[in-house]
Subunit: 341 residues, 2 copies
């Protein structure tokens, strides 16, 4: 058995276990069917060693995270996961490492009924590129361009924890105990908010997942929708910031909460009149959410893909400009910097 | 404008140009609809610098080839291209290089009505991972496990030319003129047999594209289908081998034709009673095809992904074992070896 055959077999499952998968991996292409009335939601993410993960990362955690960040994109569309493909470049073939990678990835896939339906393997610097497919009724999809003036701005879970985990991993900060463990887990094994995304489909207007930082990702919504936002920084720190981050020096805490990447929470907008319905949807999905601001008028973007972080106004609870402490860094996560930097 | 925004803009197109694309790139996921009665065919391929292309490759040719090898997988399913995603790792951002890459890729995409609907960009060793989506009626799809005893074995176009192009590029062989140019073009800018694949859907039984070499790729069909094949080597050399390859020393010519990768022709099986229909389909697709053998009984494979090159018997026109000259190398294209080796 050659190296390729080993790799294919490690990831192989018999077709038939997942509804909608007519033909799984092993052919030139997989065959997928979507439900009547639904369209297919498709998203790709690539993880490169030294940028998105350290060389000594546990393979099981890497397999989990590579799929989790892709499922997070489906969550941010309100889509139900259906299947995914994996393209894998490996410097060498280590069977135990590969089996652990496959276990981390396929365990999360099974939890979401999401079948691995194909891929490619090659020698090369360690790189994983995944493409996920989900389904959603197109009128219910959570599009970035759907935020409306008068919407509330909401965020799920807690922000800044993954950035704290990165600081601990890099040795920039020292901390021990359960909070340090939670921060590392948020970075290494994030939970995609798949149930929340589906619960919000048809209820929320716009959504994005927080992969590059709150300002950057909310900015994408604002630019696409041609609006601006006012954020209540005190509400954000009170209701959507974990204690371990809130207790850091203020400049660091705000940098992590506003611009820390990799949390994979959802930021979304919904009509102010539907606050109770949003809370009920979050309760059904067993996911905490917090209302942290509102959508206000803004200029149309000069390009559909323009950045929009500058459209976010940071206010205190009285509606005055929030006094940012010195040393706050609000640039989003830079994928052209290395995680090991 | 940051580097990411530049990259996104270079590849960006407005949604709406391609039927079936509800929402194109720029959101967390694209939204795709398939036609009633069709399922979605999905395939991924990854290209790594130094393995699949040389560092000095022309970016336009690289963009073309990265999409062509993925479209070739759709062709081998009999599917109509619909859309694709691109995950791109780049060591640095060079706008002119990027624009040329995008032009090579999007020109081929436009020729097939195949929209770029999403992707990801990161810093890293130059790597392209594409996932393509097509549609096909599931009963008409050209599956690898559908070859039947009594089928003919066919191949499109000509084999071995891309491997000759690689030998010229590496300086292993010297040749000039139109034939050398054609060999280089076959390697650098292959033509995916998309029209032929669709013309064969519902007519041929099984198909695969010849990316790893004829024996390896026909072997996948044979193992999946639990059959074996007899190939008429003289017919193969006469009807599916370009003069530039046929005129090489016999051991080299046979190595290139039987095991040279990267040609992206189709190998397929069809009932012997449908020979005229196959020729008519090929004529409609303006693609030459040649009948080079037949499917015979074989053992079920011990694993659905097992290799099957050993199931191919090489015969002369009288049905006797073909006398292979010394020095023939029949191992398939090894992606763990470098293209620059």
């Amino acid at each position: 058995m050659g190296e390729f055959e080993l790799i294919r077999r490690v990831f192989w499952r018999a077709t038939g276990a997942t509804p909608g998968v007519w033909l799984g991996n092993g052919d030139d292409a997989a065959l997928l069917a979507s439900s009547p009335g639904c369209v297919l939601a498709v998203s790709s993410d690539m993880l490169v060693q030294g940028r998105h993960f350290l060389p000594d990362v546990e393979p099981q955690a890497l397999g989990h995270k590579a799929l989790a960040v892709n499922l997070s994109d489906l969550a941010a569309m309100g889509a139900r996961p259906l299947a995914f493909t994996l393209a894998l470049a490996l410097p060498r073939v280590d069977e135990a490492w590969l089996r652990a990678l496959a276990e981390g990835m396929l365990t999360l896939a099974d939890a979401h009924g999401c079948a691995l339906v194909g891929g490619d393997t090659t020698a090369g610097p360690l790189t994983l590129a995944l493409t996920v497919f989900g389904e959603v009724a197109p009128q219910r999809a959570l599009r970035r361009d759907a935020a409306r003036v008068g919407d509330d701005v909401w965020v799920s879970g807690a922000l800044g924890l993954a950035r704290l985990g990165l600081a601990l991993l890099r040795g920039e900060l020292a901390m021990s105990g359960a909070q340090a463990e939670a921060a590392r887990a948020q970075l290494l094994r994030p939970t995609p908010r798949v149930a929340l995304g589906q619960a919000l489909a048809g209820l929320a207007h716009a959504a994005a997942d927080v992969s590059d930082g709150l300002l950057a990702d909310l900015g994408h919504i604002l630019a696409s929708s041609g609006v601006a936002a006012e954020l209540d920084v005190e509400a954000l720190l009170r209701e959507a910031t974990p204690p371990a981050v809130r207790d850091l020096p203020p400049a660091l805490a705000l940098s992590f909460v506003l611009a820390g990447g990799d949390d994979y929470e959802l930021v979304f907008t919904a009509p102010a009149a539907r606050r109770d319905a949003v809370q009920a949807a979050a309760a059904r999905a067993a996911t905490p959410v917090a209302c942290i601001g509102r959508i206000v008028p803004g200029e149309p973007a000069e390009h559909p893909l323009a950045d929009g972080a500058g459209r976010v106004r940071l206010l205190d609870t009285q509606g005055r400009p929030y006094p940012l402490p010195e040393g706050v860094r609000l640039a989003g996560f830079d994928h052209f910097a290395t995680i090991a930097a």
